[in-house]
């Protein structure tokens, strides 16, 4: 049996990659994928702890996260599409007009 530490280290790595991606990348779709990556790293820790404690609560939480992630994907992609239509670009640095 794989010890929980391995799962957690993998989740940490995935999460860190996600964070760095969100901060560093400019392409909105990549940023979006990095957010998914972070969500899934959290999902991994949920499942890992669920198996560790023999408790199904964590797995149920994962379903919730997946539902929310699906909704978020729908809305997020719609926003990206609108941004692209407005500015012919999906670079986040180009969508910087909404400021004082």
């Amino acid at each position: 049996m794989v010890p929980i530490t391995h799962y957690l280290i993998l989740a940490l790595l995935m999460f860190s990659i996600g964070v760095v991606g969100v901060i560093v990348r400019r392409n909105a779709i990549v940023v979006f994928m990095c957010i998914e990556l972070m969500l899934n790293s959290v999902n991994l820790t949920f499942v890992a702890f669920s198996k560790q404690w023999g408790n199904l609560d964590g797995q149920i939480a994962v379903f919730f996260v997946m539902v929310v992630a699906a909704a978020e994907a729908a809305i997020g992609l719609a926003i990206i599409l609108s941004v692209f239509r407005a500015g012919q670009s999906i670079e986040t640095s180009d969508a910087a007009e909404l400021k004082f």
Partner: protein, 633 residues
Amino acid sequence: MNQAAISATIWPIAFFPLLGALLAYVLGRKERDWAGIIATAASALSFLWVVKLVWALPEAHYFEDQLFQWISLADLKVDFTFRVDQLSAVMCMVVTGVGTLIHLYSTAYMHEDEGRHRFFAYLNLFMFSMLLLVLGGNLMVLFIGWEGVGLCSYLLIGFWFKNLAYAAAGRKAFVVNRIGDAGFLLGIFLLLHLVGTTDFVALQPAIMSGNVALGTDFYTLVALCLFVGACGKSAQIPLFVWLPDAMAGPTPVSALIHAATMVTAGVYMLARMGFLFVLAPAALAVVLVVAVATAFVAATTALTQYDIKKVLAYSTVSQLGFMFMAAAAGAFWVAIFHVVTHAFFKACLFLGAGSVIHGCHHEQDMRHMGGLYKKMPITCITYGVSVLAIAGIFFFSGYQSKHAILGALEHWHNPHLKEWIEYILILVKFTAFLTAFYMTRSFVMTFLGEYRGHAHPHESPWPMTVPLIVLAVLGAFGGLALSGSLGFSLEHYLAALNFGAAAEHHHESIAAALINSWTGLLGVGLAFVMYTQLKELPGMFLRLVPPLSKLLSGKYYFDELYGAIIVRPLEGLAAFLWKVVDQGMIDGMVNGTAAFVDATGELRRITQTGQLRYYALMLFGATVFFIIFYYVL
């Protein structure tokens, strides 16, 4: 006032002018000429109602008209009451009688003015306020009228408000009057607090019974407070400075408000509250000193004035001083007597001056007049008669009233000033001489000699000459008629005003009377000679003592003095409050708050770049920071 009340309908006396004011304004806006007719008719109706009431007024009774309860607080009940007793009757006759004549005169005098509907509305409103003042059955109602006449005076002085100096004169009159009114109000409040009523009928027994806890000191205090009010309204030192400036108003206004009626309101109030004043001899002594000083200062100032209306204005101030002298001596009926005769001859003088100004196309400087007797005979004769009246020459009305004032002063009972009364009398007689002198000077400069102006003087139309003739006749015979020669004695009629002062009756021969009017004769004669024959003499006389002439033509520098000690410090304070407190502190606080928000916002703006990556970095950075902060540290 041990008199019995009879209820009667009094309110129409005041109501007619009020209605007249409204109609004159509303209908006058459509058709300007109606305003004068309406206002004159309203005033005449009021006069007729007064005559009807006065005719029916039995001796030792008064009419009462309780309209409604005005104020009802816990212990304080003030009724809105009108009363006509003998004193009110005399004042009402003067106000409505002289008022109607002046309304008639104004219809011609103002016939070219664009705003005459406004003028007549104000004039009628003034009549209403003045009647409220003399009819009011308690000090509160009197005070409404008191303030009302002040308001109308302000409106009419500044009637030609496009001239800023005139508007400023109106404001000055209003402000100076407010100072007096503050004293008057304090007096009313003191009475309310300590006696509990201001109703004259209730007040008199309460005061005279001596049950008021504080005694003489209280009477003196209240009397002085009331006198401060009278000083403001009746232009006595130190509050007389507004009256000469009030000549900015149209001349009929000067005649009605600033000579015949409003300015005598202070004298009326003193007479009305006479029962209080006789119990406060110290206050009466103050009144005498102020009155004599005012009469003298104003008379000497009048000597050097060249504006015909200014001469009359200072003369009015001086004559008001004479009225207060009589009141100070406790001879309140004499004060009212002089109010009445003065109303006749001074209104006539002012209307005569107005007629001259009208005829000379708005020339007021006497140096540009002269020789007008040929062009304006009626004005000249009526003015001349009134000059003789004010000079106090026997037979004319001023003689009787002025002689009565001197008689009252000779019987000075007051323990205060008893040893000084001899000298005061000399000063008063000298002032009477000056009165005759400067009035004759104005007559000679205006009507005699050669015409020195460039206009084409003409006699005024009948609505102006008729009031002049009527007033001149009253000014000539009024004194004699009121002093008992024709079976009517004002002294007897106003017996209720006699609070234990010794009544003296002396019948004098015509020769004695002529001798008694020597001050007037001397003044008239001297001025006549000096200004017709020895024309260099007045100038030489003034050059002989330059400081004196400077003092006189500078009007004793009262305006400059008040400017230095009151007006300019106040203006400085106002500038300080405006520039430093308002603009600096209050605006500074408001603007400072906004500036603070603005500056912090500006600072905060640095972080809002619009870059998503940057926000994400801050979000994670903050999360990491707090995690470390809470779990590690």
